[in-house]
């Protein structure tokens, strides 16, 4: 292994090694490994266990003091974190270097940086979850949140709120929940068979020919399509097809009626199909070949083998993958905004008229609150509530996916 030689290279002392004897009679080591990389004793080359927690505590206290002073005698959490981190890292590096050696100090420095990176990553997570739940609970605890749409609120004019001080009425997200579920369901119904059949083709039928390589490549390309481009595609495609159909008088829609649930589902399919293909392909590939052979050896045809042996064996993984794909598209905002648009009432019809969905509802309510000034707090709480519902749906789908993958996985063959 070439790395072996590198072990010694980090030690800078190598430059200062004594010159080998002039005539080269020296049969021993050119350099003394003992001196270069090995400590004198196996004991006493570590810092005490309390060192790290104590340094961290010192960092927190000193960081607080510094940030408090600099910020004009008031608490600023960001500054506190930064100063604490800097003090912690510098102190532990200097002390380790003094007490032990440079290598140990470098090791400790990077370890501390990794710890701090991790802590840094947790801050936004906690902050997001906190802001969504704190305000969201207020929203979802009202009954009207679950049972009403927004058609009443729209009727209430801004002017009346301003001039007569009328408070915004109840209103809820029923229409958005229905829209989200219906559009996602339609997208799933379209994507899953296509994705599943494609991955069956890739795994079971294609033998690495140009078609299968092409499909794999373009599925990869599809994975990278920005969601808003998928939305544009949905809108442009449906618009074009409607226009063509209109010229031949196939249906009564006028051009411009691409705003419907179906268009959104088409856009979501573009995002969903590659995910389904990828995960299903992976799951089908891990089905042991022995099972296929066992089935063939019983005189079972290939399509029956696939449907009755391969897919049942992989079904837990496939179901988990599909669930994750659903979780991904149900939170998509941009493509739906461009295709299904928005509506303030319940619409069960996927083929006529716009539809409201949870993500679009959240976006629209935050950027266009109903109610003026202080009165907009109800509107905001509804939006946070909708965000909470959306997060809970997504988390539940993720959880379900894990449970499916775990519980329904067939027991492994053999011991």
């Amino acid at each position: 292994m070439p790395q072996q030689t590198k072990t010694k290279s980090p030690s800078p002392q190598q430059n200062g090694r004594p010159d080998p004897e002039a005539d080269g009679v020296d049969l021993g080591w050119e350099i003394d490994p003992q001196e270069l990389i090995r400590p004198r004793s196996i004991k006493g080359n570590v810092l005490p266990r309390w060192f790290l927690p104590v340094t961290a505590a010192v960092g927190v206290v000193v960081g607080f003091a510094l940030s408090y002073l600099i910020n004009g005698f008031s608490v600023n959490y960001a500054l506190w974190f930064i100063f604490a981190a800097v003090v912690f890292i510098v102190t532990s590096y200097v002390v380790t270097r003094q007490q032990l050696n440079k290598r140990k100090a470098t090791d400790g420095l990077w370890r501390n940086l990794v710890y701090i990176a991790f802590a840094l990553a947790l801050i936004p997570l906690i902050s997001v979850i906190w802001s969504v739940t704190a305000d969201g609970f207020q929203g979802i605890s009202r009954l009207s949140f679950w049972t009403e749409d927004m058609s009443q609120n729209a009727a209430q004019s801004r002017e009346r709120q301003i001039h007569e001080g009328e408070r915004p009425m109840g209103g809820g997200v029923l229409h958005a929940i229905i829209g989200s579920l219906m559009i996602t369901l339609l997208a799933t119904v379209i994507s899953v068979p296509i994705g599943l059949l494609t991955s069956i083709y890739l795994v079971e039928y294609s033998r690495g020919g140009p078609l299968s390589r092409g499909i794999t490549f373009f599925v990869d390309v599809m994975t990278g399509i920005p969601s808003i481009v998928a939305g544009l595609f949905g809108a442009a495609a449906v618009q074009m097809i409607l226009g063509i159909g209109n010229q031949f008088g196939l249906w009564s829609y006028g051009p411009g009626n691409y705003r419907m649930g179906l268009t959104a589902a088409v856009a979501l399919c573009v995002l969903m199909i590659p995910v389904v293909v990828r995960t299903t392909e992976e799951m089908l590939r891990v089905v042991p070949n022995e099972l296929r052979e066992a089935s063939y050896a019983l005189g079972v045809r290939k399509w029956r083998t696939i449907l009755k042996v391969v897919i049942p064996t992989a079904i837990s993984g496939i179901a988990a993958g599909v669930t994750l794909a659903i979780a991904r598209v149900i939170g998509e905002t941009a493509p739906i905004l461009l295709t299904a648009g928005m509506l303030n009432r319940v619409n069960w019809d996927l083929f006529t008229d716009a539809m409201m969905t949870l993500p679009v509802y959240i976006y629209w309510t935050f950027t266009h609150p109903i109610g003026v000034g202080e009165l907009s707090y109800l509107s905001e709480q509804r939006a946070w509530g909708a965000a909470l519902v959306l997060i809970m749906i997504v988390m539940a789908l993720n959880l379900i996916a894990r449970i499916i993958a775990h519980v329904f996985a067939p027991k492994k063959t053999g011991r």
Binding site: A117, A121, L211, I225, P226, I228, G231, L232, V394
Partner: protein, 336 residues
Amino acid sequence: MTTDSTQTRSGGRKAGAKPENSLASGDRAGAGLDRGFAGLAKAAGIFILIILAFVALFLSWNSVGAVYQEEDGLILGRFLSYAWPFALGTVVVAVLALVMAAPVSIGVALYISHYAPPRASKTIGYIIDLLAAIPSVVYGAWGMFVLAPAMLPLYHWLNRWLYTWPEENWGWGIPFFAGSPGLGQNLFTASVVLAVMVLPIISSVCREIFIQTPKLHEEAALALGATRWEMIKMAVFPFARAGVISGIMLGLGRALGETMAVVMVVSGLGFQLSLISAGNSTIPREIALNFGETAPNTERWHQLIALGLVLFIITLVVNMIARWIVSRHREFSGAN
């Protein structure tokens, strides 16, 4: 059916339909079904190619209207002068986000793969994955209501010491920090939100690769007396390099196409150098804000779709570069 085919076999032999080979009387219907199913699977694969061809076709077809109008002729210049600020904004915000997210994500991935207590690391991995599960619109709301106000002190400080103060004293300040921060809704805040959004994506790719580092290499390094960091430098990083780069490119692709967070966090339109005051926009934001009010088949409609095509091409190029890097390093790395 096995029972049936047994009968068919013996029946065929008695009747002497094919005396030269009694095996040939296999069931035709079954073989036909087999071919039918294979054809169906193949058709689904081809259908995906058709969809993608349609995506490219529709986008290109509709983009033509942005650069050519019957009454004005070729108007490429008009489109370019309209599009470049958005394209630039998109790239700037994504790259800024990546600069912030990449080191932290690698740190997080390292923490989970090599530093966290082994029993906790799986749970911690799930928690980081949760970040990826949060819909972008929620991040947008968070950026708008929580992050933007929280960033304000920093913007004031940056503006004060990196722009106003040098300008008063030397007559020139760093233009990125010019202007009033206002509500904190600017390109910089957007890039922080994007950084938070792509962090779990990059870190989960890196984590997977780090975990796959051959135990033998790691142990070989440790057995030579390497510290943990030296072991990571020697065994983990060389193995994971291509995977880490492709993870970062994946994050870049996601950041380029991200819409809602930017729509909700950035306010303003025109291009400006300042990152900390209202202004600038990105391609996805421009499309999302205007597509709804645009009548189909007008020049504006075509312009927006052409913008989408530009974005598609940018992300495609980024993904291709990632793939190229991975394939170049394939033989040395754990990616693929």
